[in-house]
Subunit: 153 residues, 2 copies
């Protein structure tokens, strides 16, 4: 005889066991944040990681792809893809390095700086939207906790 | 003449512009947390998403893969991969659904329950480790902020 198994409707599926963990709550929140960030950056032709790469190149002119990979903690191979996209868009250029002919230094163009300035203003508004309704003391606690967790790595 | 470009050492690369955004800090913290969680789960033959799936099946016996995908906000195709791994390990079984012959209901086995109980204790210790040094009021602020952000989705 076939054993009767319990059936669930969508609404009675619970995740209480996972909810006790900060990592699960962080992942769920980050998914929402990332989706909002993607919508925020889309009009500028940017995505989360191309925006991050562009920001790092604006802040650190002459940065090498390996340094960019290290600073963002992403794979070198992925960084090359983002840099290619930024170069194709005309926002970033590669210049040869004086001390290592195999390496190259990244710099943003005037057009790259222009799109960055517009995008960063939109990302600032997105960031405020994400934290809207939280008190300054709560935002400070979040930043402290995130720094503490990151420091364990 | 070749234009001289600025050179950076690893230590003088900065990410101050990105640090202003909670999303960037959250992503950096989550990377560290996820790496620690992977090390925590590895001795049990589990990974973040197989552990999450197993936890959901323990909590919701009879859960269908489509419900699991919805509850965890992951692609149905990915859920099938995790369920296959759990089934191969002998931790989860599929039973046909009485009301829909194409669907199946997931249940955990005694061996699955045993590995889950051990893994969840290890994940609890990991979670405490991640939050170690934070005061209760700070942990509460983090949880509130994460819930607030998730609620914007």
């Amino acid at each position: 005889m076939m054993r009767k198994v319990e059936q669930h409707t969508e609404s009675d599926v619970t995740d209480a066991a996972l909810r006790q963990f900060v990592g699960y709550n962080m992942k769920r929140a980050f998914n929402v944040l990332q989706a909002d960030l993607a919508r925020t950056l889309e009009p500028f032709g940017l995505r989360m990681l191309t925006f991050s790469a562009l920001s790092m190149i604006v802040e650190n002119p002459g940065l090498r792809p390996s340094q960019l990979a290290g600073a963002l903690s992403v794979e070198r191979a992925n960084v090359v893809v983002y840099v290619d996209r930024l170069e194709e868009a005309g926002w970033v250029t590669r210049a040869p390095c004086a001390d290592d002919r195999r390496a190259y230094a990244l710099q943003c163009t005037i057009a790259g700086r222009r799109v960055y300035d517009k995008a960063v203003a939109a990302v600032r508004a997105h960031d405020r939207r994400m934290l809207d309704g939280l008190r300054a003391v709560e935002i400070a606690a979040v930043k402290k906790a995130l720094a503490r967790i990151e420091g364990r790595g």
